[in-house]
Symmetry: C2
Subunit: 467 residues, 2 copies
Amino acid sequence: MDVLEQMRLFMEPESIALVGVSRSTDHPFGLLRNLLAYGFSGDIYPVNPSADQILGVRTYPAIKDLPDDIDLTVIMTPRDTTLALVEESVEKGLKAIIIVAQGFGDADEKGKSLQSRIIDTAKRGGARIIGPNTFGVTNAFQSMSTALPMLEMERSPIGIISQTGIPFLGTSRFKFGKIIDIGDTCDIDVADALCYFEEDPEITVVALQIEGIQDGRRFAHVVGRVVKKKPVLVLKGGRSEAGARAALSHTGSIAGADEVYDATFKQRGLIRVNDLEELEDMGLAFSRLPPMKKRGVGVMSWAGSTGVLTVDACDAYGLEVPLLSDAAIDRIRELSPPAWLPIENPVDLWACAGLVKFDAESLKFGFRTIMEALLNQESIGAVLVIIPDFHTLFQSEDWDISEIVHEVAEDYKEQPIVFSILGAWGKTTERLEEKRNMVVFRSHERAVRALSRLWEYAAISNPDSRL
Amino acid sequence: MDVLEQMRLFMEPESIALVGVSRSTDHPFGLLRNLLAYGFSGDIYPVNPSADQILGVRTYPAIKDLPDDIDLTVIMTPRDTTLALVEESVEKGLKAIIIVAQGFGDADEKGKSLQSRIIDTAKRGGARIIGPNTFGVTNAFQSMSTALPMLEMERSPIGIISQTGIPFLGTSRFKFGKIIDIGDTCDIDVADALCYFEEDPEITVVALQIEGIQDGRRFAHVVGRVVKKKPVLVLKGGRSEAGARAALSHTGSIAGADEVYDATFKQRGLIRVNDLEELEDMGLAFSRLPPMKKRGVGVMSWAGSTGVLTVDACDAYGLEVPLLSDAAIDRIRELSPPAWLPIENPVDLWACAGLVKFDAESLKFGFRTIMEALLNQESIGAVLVIIPDFHTLFQSEDWDISEIVHEVAEDYKEQPIVFSILGAWGKTTERLEEKRNMVVFRSHERAVRALSRLWEYAAISNPDSRL
């Protein structure tokens, strides 16, 4: 079986065997209950020697009693029973096995020895294993997850390969549409999982949360191919020496010198992120926004001060805030700000966009005029708008600019439009986010950081696209 | 009048004259309406030549018709009328004047000339000016603000001195209890405002959002005094050359070489922040948490991976994740995790705290035991806990750890306790935040950054306090 067929057994199963389902169904973690609640449409085969049915689903006393050709097997029992169950699974001809328990390669000698016997058994039978020490997989597009806690499902185009259960919790802004938690990686590894996402039409952004990679050559080869098609984000723990030691103790994987990883990531065109928040930001940016093809950012700012901070941030992240053409300045000048007001990029919205007149219609007209003037500039590849939530500030519907912004975004599909909202988020923010053709960030600095990665990636995905 | 008395006229007025109040009271910005809505208990004297009353408040045709000894005067008219109104105010003997309009020192020659005449006039009459180009001041403890938009008031112990209106919008987590927006700073400057906060018992954390400082010597002298009593956070725009140019164009203040500022900030013990989010984090940390007196962080992590990332972050921010004593390890071992599980700092909660048993009571007991074991370590100055929101994850009240955490925080008042919540925030997060004796951060990285600043500041505020 080639790797893609193999991965599809894990990720798109039509039938799942659950080995180690408890009869008590009221504790917070219950895989059978979860799958029923998600509305998973495939067949579920719980294995339990002392029940006929659980939650109305027929159970089987042992693996050998299961029907043939079940796609995916999840073994949830404690470590000491695992080897025997893997042997039974292999005898039964099962080909895709998830091992949830921990205590193998990352633990004592006994665990290590169990793990190597599990690997041998699987190899002999032509079976592949995800884990041990894993929550398994999630495929929201199929309402399927093998994670023990009940998850909120979201069919987002962001897929993740991880060595930890953290991605199952989602981020504060989105859930991952597909998750492959390779855990302690005794068999299926990052490269195998990447091969699946490479060909997956539902996933447009691939994230990695990893601590170490065993087969560096194969990884580099595969990931180098994937980044040509889809952006690959990577959050790698064990950056510091102390962190690498901590990684060793919990997954048994040697994190290795961070410089080696960093060089590989750079050379292959991965987008490295430093923490979970940056992973969240980049997931949003790359899944919603077009490539940034010019280095210049047009900035519309509620206040001069946030304009200045944004210029600082652009400088730090290698972007530019170019001067405007005379034509653009004239166009903005026609909005009739005071004659003495200097008009430049960043454009100060307070003075330019009808705010001085306290007139909502002028504000909306000004908003559109300035956005378009910026987006039409030769040198500008993206627009960043920094404003308070107008619904919250003015306590009125009149100042709702979201419709205008959506119209402009529709007209200028090839340039990223991003927002940063000052103070508390409210209805304006919610409406801006509704269409998912832009991203609202929690700070101007995070917005600029995201744009800079879009700019860098444009050179990787399509070297000729940058202007 | 000394600077403190002078600043109290601005910040704690018993009477306010509003010059330039419109009769139309339905547009979104209305200072008179706002003050009434806030419930400001002082006297309000609107000046309007063509009305007898506005919103039921008696108006006065001109400044000369006002009663004597009004504490604070706010002039809200366009720039061309301002000089004459300042002259009238000075003649009337008014001593504290806020000028809202822009178009003076930061604008054309006419604006510059107007500004210098305004300064001369004020000096002659012994009046002081905040502004121009300012929203003025806010004092939530007196339900008072001169900002044009209606604000949400919060009596937070965080005060800010700014050259921009941004702080009036608040942050996404708190509002500033007092705001002094010195705007283009033709008279009252950062040092004057600092003198006020220095003596203010309601404010325990002082923030600055500035672009340039005119009298560097006096600033350095005053701020050096203040940081001994209260932490001073500073967000300074114009870090890059391009940013400095942008700053010049909108406030007329020369941002100056950033290195000079940076050196002064360091030498005087200010805590520099890079963006509004960091300002928010540090405001929370310094207003709620005790000093961090030892460099070591005890980490409790839901997953090994977030433990590793936290060790990396501690390393990057100059903190340590020390090894545990045998006694602490034994204490945690008694919680009966599997024998093969290595127990160290970071402590893996999944395995240690009753989660493997899926038992809420064991989790709570384990949570308390581990927190206390860490807080009792010789080398540990603070504890960071990284967990999902348990209410959200388990969809049950049973797993509510907030009460236990509050009890521990009460018992260990001298060590900062911080949290980072993975995924979406829910009821657990809300309850943890309720008592304000800890801070929940949006990422482990931001939590570590905050701890590192608490550690640095401990050496500044009280050099003997660090152990």
